[in-house]
């Protein structure tokens, strides 16, 4: 097991009280596993990704443990996390376009970053250039300013930089959302290639696009209102989902070749609960067509078949 997360809870502090954005996540990632973490806005998927890297000022660690390659990952202690960030856990942010320092040439910026981590730029340069060439960029990007690169080039540069020290866990947070379809495909396939080449051991690919992540992920993890709803092999989750939310979500996706005249799809009525004071029990209850009395108790995130867990009493 490369990553083991147990009962992780991270809340946002607000004047009105704690917003329970991540309220108990339990899951594991196998070596070499890419999981697609999908959910709607406000489901807590980005909070989960971020809490494995760095808790920002508004985030409050409440409980839970994270284990990476058998050793504890001190997610609650930002200072101790410094030894892990970039080396063991790394992030590709959503807006890679603005992740680079505009006043430095790309090479200089990378050198600064590496040296701040006690690495020698000179020693790593050949590997850096080799990997830039792998994603179709030449050595000359190192001599350019970020403004001289296109959005796609910046995205690829950041991808190479984030994985340069071969981290064990990579979190890709909505990296394809701002890109055109042809670039989306290139970025997703490049990331899968990084895993195949062993640049990263396992990956959490945070996205709202199930169809996209299904192209590269081994497993899909579905979040709803701060909790995990379902996790299983990608094919199983897409073709025979067990959680009613996953089922409704997948049947709401228009596919190429489907037109409303032939087959009318329907959305999920209602909206997710406010996480400031979430209702007890199953959080999907109000929107769920299968809800019954037992749903007033919180369903456990339990395995329904090997490697397939669902948080639903009816699964």
């Amino acid at each position: 097991m490369s990553l083991k997360v147990r009962d992780l809870r991270v809340y946002y502090r607000t004047l009105a009280g704690d917003v329970k954005a991540l309220d108990g996540a339990d899951f594991e990632l196998a070596d070499g596993e890419i999981t697609g973490l999908v959910g709607e806005s406000g489901s807590g998927k980005s909070t989960l990704g971020k809490s494995l890297i760095k808790l920002d000022g508004r985030m409050r660690y409440v409980s839970g443990t994270v284990e990476l390659d058998g050793a504890e990952l001190p997610v609650r202690d930002s200072a101790r996390m410094n030894d892990f960030r970039f080396r063991e856990v790394s992030l590709i942010p959503q807006y890679a376009m603005s992740a680079m320092n505009p006043t430095r040439k790309v090479g200089r910026m990378i050198a600064d970053l590496l040296e701040s981590r006690g690495e020698r730029f000179r020693a790593l340069r050949p590997e850096l250039v080799r990997r830039l060439e792998l994603v179709g960029l030449g050595e000359q990007v190192l001599g350019r300013y970020p403004i001289e690169l296109s959005g796609g080039m910046k995205q690829r540069t950041v991808m190479v930089l984030s994985t340069l020290l071969d981290p064990s866990l990579l979190i890709a947070d909505e990296v394809t959302s701002a890109l055109d379809v042809s670039n989306q495909r290139a970025v997703a396939e490049t990331l899968a290639g990084f895993r195949d080449r062993g640049f990263v051991k396992s990956m959490i690919f945070v996205t709202h696009d199930v169809a996209l992540v299904n192209q590269i992920a081994d497993t899909i993890t579905v979040m709803y209102a701060g909790r995990l709803a379902e996790k299983g092999p990608a094919k199983t989750v897409v073709n025979s989902p067990r959680h009613p939310y996953t089922r409704m979500l997948i049947s709401a996706l228009p596919e190429v070749g489907v037109s409303h005249g032939e087959r009318r799809l329907s959305g999920i009525p209602g909206s997710p609960p406010a996480l400031l004071d979430p209702p007890a029990g199953c959080r999907f209850r109000d929107r769920c067509p299968l809800a019954f009395d037992k749903c007033e108790q919180e369903p456990p995130f339990a395995e329904v078949e090997p490697d397939h867990s669902v948080a639903c009493w009816k699964a």
Partner: protein
């Protein structure tokens, strides 16, 4: 109803506007009543610029846009333009920035009332408003009197569509209206567009997502770099994509039940044995004034050569 005839838009860029940037070039298509036309393209394809020109928020450089036979760029006096906006309205991508957060969301309706329906008595207006809200499947009690932050993106977007419907519009320009919405509410807005179309509304549906375009539209226009590369009945364009760019787009769209590799293999299998020649120059070896050639009933395609490169299948290199 709406007709674009060889419309171009050139921006002046660079210092002192010395350079020219062609955002839209030679685009022609039509939107008929009760028809959804999807305008599909990636960023920089000029799709939003076309929407803006139809809404008269951006001037055209050459060509004509006509609505029911009248050239819309000739509207000069405020009265004429106001009358145009009574019949043509737009809804845009980001519902959160379309509202002023300081005011309640239903202020958008009040503005319509003072502008167009000042003489309508309160009770009658209220009935009209309720009817418009019910059409977009919103409960008036739930959405009226609320601030934008109290409503979801899907609700805000539907309010804007309701606002457009108050005006008895005939054409709606929908520019990426669902790309900011969550998957579970997206489809409801798409179905709403399909219902409005049944009632005779013409919709110009601008998107970068082929599967969304395919779901709602009757006609598809594929844009690249400001020009139309392929155009026709949605069924034909999707079942038999001809232009290499259309095929590339289709092969990049992630599909739920097919991997990218499978889609690639399918496209290759369809071409097996056949040499892919430029369909445009097959029909018009010498080219012609129209950048598109008809390859089938209601299916038009541009020259396969892209980015100004000469087409190897052209009989003569075009002059200029």
């Amino acid at each position: 109803m709406l007709k674009l005839d060889r419309v171009s838009k050139v921006y002046r860029v660079g210092s002192f506007g010395g350079e020219q940037l062609r955002a839209v070039g030679d685009v022609s298509f039509e939107v008929r009543p009760g028809q959804v036309v999807s305008l599909i393209g990636e960023s920089g394809s000029g799709k939003s610029t076309i929407g803006k020109m139809v809404l008269r928020t951006s001037r055209i450089t050459s060509g004509t846009i006509s609505f029911d036979g009248a050239d819309i760029s000739r509207y000069r006096r405020t009265g004429e333009l106001k009358e145009y906006y009574r019949r043509v309205q737009g809804v845009f991508q980001d519902p959160f920035s379309s509202y002023n957060p300081v005011f309640k969301a239903d202020r958008v309706f009040e503005m319509i009332r003072t502008e167009y329906f000042a003489a309508v008595p309160a009770a009658e207006w209220r009935a009209k408003l309720d009817a418009a809200l019910r059409t977009v499947r919103l409960d008036p009690a739930q959405v009226l009197g609320k601030y934008p932050h109290q409503l979801s993106g899907g609700q805000l977007q539907r309010l804007l569509i309701a606002r457009a419907l108050l005006l008895d519009i005939e054409l709606l320009v929908a520019d990426e209206i669902i790309s900011m919405l969550d998957a579970s509410t997206r489809i409801d807005v798409l179905n709403l567009l399909a219902d409005l179309k049944e009632r005779g509304l013409g919709i110009l549906f601008i998107t970068h997502d082929l599967s969304l375009g395919n779901y709602v539209s009757d006609q598809t226009v594929i844009l690249r770099g400001g020009s139309v590369v392929e155009r026709g009945a949605t069924r034909r364009v999707f079942a038999n994509p001809l232009h290499p760019y259309t095929r590339r787009l289709l092969s990049s769209v992630p599909q739920l039940h097919k991997t990218w590799a499978e889609v690639d293999a399918e496209l290759r299998a369809r071409d097996a044995g056949a040499e892919r020649r430029c369909a445009y120059h097959e029909r018009l070896p010498d080219g012609g004034p129209d950048p598109l050639a008809a390859v089938d009933e209601d299916h038009h395609v541009a020259c396969f050569a892209l980015d100004g490169a000469p087409c190897p299948d052209a009989a003569r290199t075009p002059v200029g």
